[in-house]
């Protein structure tokens, strides 16, 4: 393993930034504007893909932009861990760019320029998190994501939008400033540096640090990255679902929440290190903690009739899988958790795309209204069905790989294995309980109130194609998980 000085991570991010600037400058001409979005997304994906060979050879790309204070710098790194997130997010941005074009134009939404610019900026932030080489850089871009997604969440500028957005920003900045900032400063004071290690086992703390201080720091970090949706800091996520669906799709299924989870796991492994986590019992404690979230969120999801709300709680639950996997601190568990970043992304974006398509085509938001709609919109609901299978963890769709790895990981644990096996199994049942009826009712159910879905047809192609492609990809990475698994294995080896 060697460190290569390369500005590619920075360039990838700059594509997003440039894209945002160009979008905001070409607001007058929608076609050019959208072209910039797509171009930025494609270029970014291209440059990230170009890094793949080097990473797969076990190298790390690093690039220091600013040396701010001793031990504090703005530095980017591309390693296997960041690639898991970066590849997915940049790839899905291309889909989302097309999809949101269709969505926004169909609904004739206002302020599309702002929307697209903020969208690109959010991706800029997400890439920054992915490529952060130290806690400061991570924190910086974590906050960039918070700020830039605010206009997206509040996009409708109505009462509901404002209150959702307020909740969103209050949760995220309060936790980031109130917990993360002090934690970061304390880490800096204790170690004199904020850089991530290259070894996920050792962590950065010297051996003689007070262990109760470490525990406090850990709790601050875990709850500080509120984007990871762990209860009790999950509440912003359902609230943020007032945003237009492409936002929910990309950001709240892929970028924003993944930023949270990615950051959490990054800290767990690269700051605290698995050795310290296990010696202080933090791994098991975290696993118990997120297990609660997994179960509770699923139960709440059952009670939601609004499709997007149900998806939101599903997200809360699924995110905790990732943390659960890493917190198990067993090789398979970690793999399962990390691969779920990718698997969940593809499946969840499909689900949100579908929800958006249904809304655009029929104007319906609640599940009960959609009864029988599947017969009118077979492609959409078909894709929805595939993606929900992935969420449930049915082979051969992507989610199965996760579940398999997680179950193996739970069994590898020395103690408590049975508890987490039960958690995983019961949550799978719950997943099935809240996802299966949606598709079933859509295809088999009666039209509510004998209403005929006259005039409703499938959503425009610019939406349909991305959602179908995403569904297909969910299947593909379920059948051939090796590509992503390569990165995961590089991390956990």
């Amino acid at each position: 393993m060697e460190v290569i000085i390369s500005s590619k991570p920075l360039i990838a991010m700059l594509f997003a930034l440039t894209g945002a600037i160009l979008v905001s400058l070409s607001g007058k001409n929608p076609n050019i504007r959208e072209a910039w979005s797509v171009a930025a997304a494609s270029c970014m994906f291209g440059i990230i893909v170009s890094m793949v060979p080097a990473i797969l050879d076990g190298n790390i790309l690093k690039y220091q932009v600013f040396d701010i204070l001793p031990g504090l710098s703005l530095t980017f790194r591309a390693d296997a861990f960041s690639m898991i997130f970066a590849l997915i997010a940049s790839f899905l941005w291309i889909f989302a760019a097309f999809y949101s074009m269709g969505y926004m134009r169909s609904l004739e939404e206002h302020a599309q320029t702002r929307f697209n610019a903020c969208f690109a900026l959010s991706l800029f932030g997400a890439m920054g998190v992915a490529f952060a080489d130290n806690l400061f850089t991570l924190y910086l871009f974590y906050e960039v994501v918070s700020i830039c997604t605010y206009p997206l969440v509040a996009h409708h500028q109505d009462k509901e939008g404002y209150s959702g957005a307020r909740k969103y920003i209050v949760y995220l900045t309060t936790t980031a400033k109130g917990l993360l900032l002090p934690a970061m400063i304390l880490i800096y004071v204790l170690t004199g540096s904020l850089d991530f290690t290259d070894n996920i086992h050792t962590g950065i703390f010297p051996a003689d640090v007070n262990s109760s201080l470490i525990i406090i720091l850990y709790i601050c970090c875990l709850l500080g990255f509120a984007k990871n949706g762990i209860m009790p800091v999950h509440n912003w996520l359902p609230g943020a679902m007032v945003a237009p669906t492409p936002v929910s799709a990309l950001l709240h299924a892929v970028a924003v929440v993944k930023v949270g989870v990615f950051a959490t796991t990054r800290i767990m492994l690269y700051i605290f290190g698995s050795d310290m986590m296990s010696s202080l019992g933090l791994g098991t404690a975290t696993a118990y903690f997120v297990s609660f979230t997994i179960i509770m969120a699923s139960v709440i999801a059952l009670t939601k009739d609004n499709l997007k709300a149900r998806l939101a709680y599903s997200t809360v639950s699924q995110l905790s899988y990732i943390i659960l996997g890493v917190a198990m601190l067993t090789p398979s568990g970690m793999s399962g958790g990390l691969i779920h970043i990718a698997n969940h992304a593809f499946s969840k974006i499909t689900l949100f795309f579908c929800a958006g398509a249904i809304f655009v085509a029929s104007g319906k938001k609640t599940i009960s209204e959609m009864s029988g709609l599947g017969r009118t919109m077979p492609f959409t609901f078909g894709a929805f069905g595939i993606a929900s299978l992935s969420m449930i963890g049915v082979p051969p769709v992507a989610g199965f790989v996760t579940k398999w790895k997680l179950l193996v990981g739970a069994m590898e644990m020395d103690a408590h294995a049975i508890v987490f096996l039960l958690v995983l199994l019961s949550s799978t049942l719950l997943n099935a309980a809240y996802f299966a009826p949606v598709t079933y009712q859509a295809f088999m159910g009666k039209h509510p109130g004998n209403e005929q879905f006259d005039g409703i047809k499938e959503a425009p192609l610019s939406m349909l194609i991305p959602l179908l492609t995403a569904a297909v990809f969910s299947v593909i990475i379920g059948i051939w998980p090796d590509f992503m698994m390569n990165f995961v294995n590089l991390v956990t080896k």
């Binding site: 204070l69 703005l74 605010y150 004071v189």
Partner: protein, 510 residues
């Protein structure tokens, strides 16, 4: 006089910088039209800024001694001298002052319509006295220029202020005057308790004063500086003055005048009365915390944009005093940097508020709601400065706050933890303001005629934005200047304890 470093040959650069605005002020009386007066003032202030640039390049950051020194006898019978000199602590403040003044002139270009000449005259006058404060090394000369800032500011607020200008200006004047008169007594008492008797500030440092004597002197100083900063609970003059002052007045007040208080702590309280400083430190730390929290909470409740920023100043200055009194290199350097940051950021925010006030003639958040749609360039600037104000990572304030908190966490974890809610509150009130201004609730038809920023206004704000990111990403040049001076200062306060106490020593000091 071995603590002074004279420059052989070359012009007396400090005097030149200090007196240029004064000369310019009197030149104003020979210029007829208002337009020309403005250009003259702008020219003079820019010239001053340019003249102050060599200070940065010629400054030797390897010594704590006072550089570019000038030493002349002024009132020999009272052993009052005209002594100037700057060290790593004051250099940045001098530079900040000279660089902000052209912006103050620019932002008043259209804002001030009556008695333009007087206005410009006062601006230049106050610049001279502010520069004098940061350069003075003789205590009486310091006191004179310190108080001399009052009269121009009093007039600036009183003549060009808002509806309650009279109340605000008189409150400002009396409050700050009341604080500083006791300092005069303390200065004289110090004089007679030092042998040989002297008003030379560096000579007064490191004298073996008795503890009780130090306590009294410290209290007299503290009152003066705490009111100026302003520390909670001496802050009540600030919101009134800020809200009523014209934009340039607010900028000067926030950016420079408040810094005189914290500068006072650094230059006088700490080195002259170190034992008393150590004795009072816990109380001052808690007062700082109170200021941080109080400022934040009150700012959250404001509907007037200027008031909001004014209260945010109370909070930010709380961070500065916190950093000073944790008494370690990290915290103190952070505090000095934060003084500069606050000058840049809050100054910029006041400029922004002034620009919107010129257009809508109101500072009410509700009435300015939703202007983002009509003024995209403006809100872009406002966003960046607000983010800087809430210490968004990557901006200048983040570095300052980070270092202050790192310093605090090094020694006093409990107090540092208590300051954290202040940081959260900063995000809360700034984002609240941003949200209202950019988005607002309702479409206000009055806003349809709003014009976005013109070139002059963009020129006014751009340098500040540049500085926001420069310090945010590359604070090293600024920190390097102060390393040695801060280390020396801490040595003066802590004596031999230096070097063993804090872990940050190895982090920051070479």
């Amino acid at each position: 006089m071995d603590f002074l470093l004279f420059r052989d040959g070359g012009p007396p650069i400090l005097s030149m910088i200090m007196l240029l605005p004064l000369i310019g002020a009197f030149c104003l009386f020979f210029v007829k039209t208002e337009e020309h007066q403005k250009y003259l003032t702008l020219g003079v202030s820019i010239l001053t800024a340019v003249c102050s640039l060599p200070l940065y390049f010629l400054f030797d950051s390897n010594t704590h001694k006072y550089q570019f020194a000038e030493h002349h006898s002024w009132i020999p019978s009272l052993s009052v001298h005209y002594t100037l000199g700057i060290d790593g602590i004051s250099l940045l403040l001098v530079l900040m002052t000279t660089f902000l003044m052209p912006l103050c002139v620019l932002c008043s270009w259209r804002y001030i319509t009556n008695r333009v000449r007087t206005f410009l005259f006062l601006l230049l006058l106050i610049e001279t006295s502010m520069l004098g404060v940061f350069m003075a090394l003789d205590f009486i000369f310091f006191y004179i220029v310190w108080e001399a800032t009052l009269i121009p500011m009093f007039l600036l607020i009183g003549i060009w202020g808002g509806d309650r200008k009279i109340y605000a200006s008189i409150k400002f004047f009396l409050y700050t005057l009341a604080g500083s008169v006791l300092m005069l007594v303390a200065i004289i008492v110090l004089y007679f308790n030092t042998s040989p008797h002297t008003f030379s500030i560096p000579l007064l440092m490191g004298q073996a004063y008795s503890f009780s004597f130090q306590l009294w002197v410290f209290l007299a100083f503290f009152l003066a500086f705490a009111i100026k900063v302003p520390m909670f609970p001496f802050h009540t003059w600030l919101p009134a003055a800020h809200v009523q002052a014209p934009t340039a007045g607010s900028v000067i007040l926030a950016s420079v005048l408040l810094k005189m208080g914290t500068y006072g702590f650094l230059r006088f309280c700490l080195p002259i009365t170190p034992d008393a400083t150590l004795a009072f430190t816990p109380y001052i730390l808690w007062l700082s915390i109170a200021g941080i929290l109080y400022g934040g909470l009150t700012a959250l409740a404001q509907n007037d944009m200027k008031k909001l920023i004014a209260y945010s100043s109370v909070g930010h200055m709380g961070f500065v005093t916190l950093g000073i009194f944790v008494l370690n290199p990290m915290g103190m350097e952070g505090a000095i940097l934060q003084m500069i940051n606050h000058g840049i950021t809050t100054g910029a925010l006041f400029l922004c508020v002034g620009m919107i006030y010129e257009r809508t003639h109101t500072r009410e958040l509700a009435l300015n709601a939703g202007i983002g749609k009509h003024m995209p360039v403006y809100v872009t600037f406002l966003t960046f400065f607000s983010l800087s104000s809430l210490a968004f990572p990557g901006t200048n304030s983040f570095i300052g706050e980070f270092m202050i908190l790192a310093g605090a966490f090094t020694d006093t974890k409990l107090i540092a933890a208590c300051a954290i809610p202040g940081a959260v509150l900063a995000a809360a009130y700034m984002l609240r303001m941003l949200q209202k201004v950019i988005w607002g609730g309702t479409e206000n038809p009055v806003h349809n005629t709003l014009s976005d920023l013109n070139v002059r206004e963009i020129i006014t704000l751009t340098p500040l934005l540049f500085l926001v990111f420069w310090i945010g990403f590359g604070p090293r040049p600024f920190l390097n200047i102060m390393h040695v001076s801060v280390a020396h200062l801490l040595e003066q306060v802590l004596g031999t304890q230096m070097g063993t106490s804090s872990l940050t020593a190895h982090v920051l000091l070479p």
